[in-house]
Symmetry: C2
Subunit: 553 residues, 2 copies
């Protein structure tokens, strides 16, 4: 791991490892140690690979039904599931473990994990879960459902944040967990071909053995599946460096509602022969077909990783630092994460942990570099840090000396979400906003809640308004920790936040997708023309509307 | 520019600049010096910014009509242009220069440049050219055409290689050259927003002033327009490093055939709100709408560039070298270009130029690195070269010491296409093939032509079969220099080449697109299911079929 003996004095603050055990850096965790640390959601509970929730405080049946919470009516065009339907699927899939049948018998306990999500926020009424093993089985299932007007919901690791992979009513769950084979890896081209149900961490560990890296990383990697990642166009921690899945996915294998199989597992970086249809499935959230396989370009794994953490006195300085980092660190910059001072104070207050830097500063930034030569990278990072210190862009900083300190610094960023939940609840928004104005939403909302008398006193219902996130991707997590959920607060938040974002041509869902929770608000980020064109796509490819209904657009 | 004083002895061969004036490296040419050097087409003639051809050996009217060459019939569903139509457009666009009217008067001379391409390969019968200045004008033009069943062909710099931007019959040419403004650049986020008609080189020069780089580069940069680049999903020289336009284009502004305007000039890296429709326009070749604006993520410009050129004894060694380059040069590798020994011998024979390395070797590779620190990059490249020399992956090599030598080495790659035309003609294929088998197509075709008695003797009609191209993108240019075009040869080439590529799941058009020339062969790279889905897209968005007819799918 990267070390450097030539650090500026002021950056040598960390001389001995001070690991707070509750804030380990999970990107380096062993394969069997799974923990949720996605930026916008570090809820403590999580499903394991087959969808069950461990350590949940209450059984799934206590979760409110999505249909009631979102006031949705079942569309009567869909058929009701019968025992005949189940019989067809049992014969088709053969093995008993491939069908969880709650139609001809009571299977509530077995089915509940597939009916709800790990956040305990969404809950459906499904009575049938199917676990196909081949694309042909998926094809036959979908054709049958399409012919019989049976609605379905594709489900991967069920780790989404917007309710996209959980049924609303009695949609049949088509779970991809049994399609979990890595099909091939070419270590010359770096192209991986794998089943959709391969768990992200399994793929990444496999690639590590071949000195390659999956171009996507996120906190849910121990449970989420690559097919789900592609279907939701997951963003995550490596986007700044490796770009989005729209650029990295080379091909897909997918099944359309009418059973037709798209065989497009291209291993080619270039293929200009017609519309790039796979792109519609990337981020299509299972609404026009089910992805059963993915081919993806995987970069070489970087042997050298450096992490620095520093304080800045204004958002203008943060922007300057980002520009300098892009210029000077350029090809080795792999993360530029922003945390405002309030988030760091909360981490300190809640955990009692000593922070890497003394004093209170309005902004903190964590920088990570990943490259092929540790000495070169350290030298670049050091030159960058010297420059930003000398020009007073940065007022103080530390540079990790070893793996332990790297984890320590990352914990200041990754521990934020967990600490925010300390007082009872947190309203969370995952926003893309052009960088220049990105942080302003935090100040404006703080003013708004203060003026309304909901923030500022010792017993105010709102604890604070904070902002942090992937600065490099112009993606901010606007969080409002509160003593409890309260309609009065909610009325001040929505649609105000969405309107604020719309005025700046931002996105109301940067990386989490639409699912059921953002569906009503898509108009804030897309024009009526765009929505019309999207509906045409949906109607063209899924004319019966059996795919993941009540969601998306 | 990069220099290194610590080179291994065997890599010091180039000690003084030896520039062959006819082979300058054009990526560094001044803005007003335009030359065609795309990998698959270095034909000497070119259109300037307004579509006229300079230095053409014969007037455009001697070019064979595409309709005859490809035996296409005019679709009678399209209306014939009348003087009333022209009057409408004249009133709409106002300025005289915006309408080239060959309907109500003879305007052959003015219109011919828009009716044919710079390769003198495609020629249409248009009688009307429109040059709108705003998206609203484009919208009104298309709506009128759609309502009146008038077919159109969108045209950018008209630099395509497959006849996509040239009319076949009397389609109205909608030329984007008057929409040529750079709208904004944010030097924090690196997002450029510009009109579709901005010339690539103008955009890149503008970005250079802001220390950024357009993520696409190609030989036609002095004439091609960024809207056309996006519409054809151009590949080019920077793809290995910066990825494809599917990853870099953040948003588009486009007009649909019915006049609806898509306002999606997103400046956001992340926006997961619905189907990513812009992707259909990237590489859509103007068949579902006209792109009028583009927003695109532009990386920082690298201050350090190094180039090395070396010889290898087998294609296996080339693959090993590529793998090592990816591993050791990793984040700074910006080109890995393959040239077989025959191409280098031809360059030597045709130009009389002394090649950088002595002796005959079966393969040569050109490597370029681009990074933020010249010393670091030189050190990495040197370590890599020492390794590949010591392990005998590479048998000989040189490393450029200055800008002149960089150009000299690039000329060995970029001069290939021009030299291949020396004997009379060249059959050219632009193929994507998985790297392991990529070069085999050259050997197999050579055997085939030799067995048929067309190659191998002093007076054989086929001079040679050679391969070169973008190894890093698995993109090979299979070229067959001949004494003259000959049906006997053609029968041995097609469909054999396409079948060969199909068997390896390759692409018959890596970066050049379909246009009219590849349309008949798309079935070799796409399944019937995919084609069906593509036709559904076309029918959905362009139900009257007025957009760029007779082409694509």
């Amino acid at each position: 791991m990267a070390t450097s003996s030539r650090l500026v004095t002021s950056l040598r603050r960390i001389s001995t490892p001070r690991v707070a055990p509750s804030f380990q850096r999970f990107r380096f965790r062993p394969a069997n140690q799974i923990r949720w640390i996605t930026a916008a959601s570090s809820e403590p509970h999580q499903p394991d690979a087959d969808g069950t929730v461990k350590g949940a405080p209450a059984p799934a049946k206590t979760i409110a039904f999505t249909s009631e919470k979102y006031d949705v009516q079942r569309d009567s065009k869909y058929a009701q599931l019968s025992e005949d339907h189940v019989k067809y699927f049992q014969e088709l899939l053969g093995s008993e473990s491939a069908v969880v049948d709650g139609v001809s018998k009571d299977a509530t306990e077995d089915i509940e994990p597939f009916n709800s999500d790990w956040m305990r926020k969404y809950r459906g009424h499904t009575k049938l879960v199917l676990k196909p093993q081949t694309k042909e089985e998926v094809s036959k299932i979908l054709k049958y459902c399409n012919d019989n007007m049976l609605a379905v919901v594709p489900q991967g690791g069920n780790t989404g944040l917007v309710g996209g992979s959980v049924p609303v009513f009695d949609e049949i769950v088509i779970n991809l967990q049994k399609m979990n084979k890595i099909r091939s890896f070419d270590d010359v081209s770096g192209v991986l071909v794998a089943d959709a149900g391969v768990i992200l961490e399994v793929a990444d560990n496999f690639l590590a053995e071949h000195n390659a890296i999956f171009p996507l990383d996120l906190g849910a990697k121990g449970s989420c599946q690559i097919g789900g990642n592609v279907s939701t166009n997951a963003g995550g921690l490596r986007l700044l460096r490796y770009g989005s899945l729209h650029g990295n996915v080379l091909g897909i294998e997918a099944v359309l509602p009418d059973g037709r199989i798209i065989e497009d597992l291209s291993k080619l970086r270039k293929n200009n022969t017609g519309y790039d249809l796979k792109q519609l499935f990337i981020g299509g959230e299972g609404t026009i077909g089910i992805i059963t396989g993915v081919s993806i370009l995987c970069p070489q794994r970087s042997p050298a990783v450096n992490v620095a953490y520093f304080a800045l006195e204004s958002y203008e300085q943060v922007q300057k630092a980002f520009k300098e980092a892009k210029g000077q660190l350029s090809e080795i910059l792999s993360a530029f994460e922003l945390m405002d001072g309030r988030t760091q104070r909360i981490v300190h207050d809640v955990t009692g942990k000593k922070m890497p830097l003394d004093g209170d500063h309005p902004f903190y930034v964590l920088i990570e570099t990943s490259g092929s030569n540790a000495d070169h990278d350290s030298e670049k990072l050091q030159a960058f840090l010297e420059h930003v210190m000398e020009t007073e862009i940065v007022s103080d900083g530390v540079l990790a000396q070893d793996q332990t300190q790297i984890q320590e610094l990352w914990s200041c960023r990754e521990g934020v979400t967990e600490c925010l939940g300390h007082w009872g609840g947190t309203y969370k928004y995952d926003l893309s906003i052009p960088i220049a104005e990105m942080y302003q939403v935090v100040n404006d909302l703080r003013d708004r809640l203060t003026e309304a008398g909901l923030l500022g006193k010792e017993d105010s219902p709102v604890i604070d308004v904070v902002g942090y996130g992937h600065m490099g991707d112009a993606n901010i997590h606007l969080n409002i920790p509160v003593r409890g959920y309260d309609k009065k607060i909610e009325k001040l938040l929505e649609p105000w936040v969405f309107e604020w974002v719309q005025k700046r041509n931002g996105s109301i869902s940067a990386e989490h997708g639409l699912g059921i929770s953002k569906k009503p608000f898509i108009g804030y980020s897309r024009t009526e023309t765009m929505l019309g064109l999207m509906r045409q796509i949906k109607d063209t490819y899924d004319p019966n509307g059996i795919m993941n209904p009540y969601k998306y657009i």
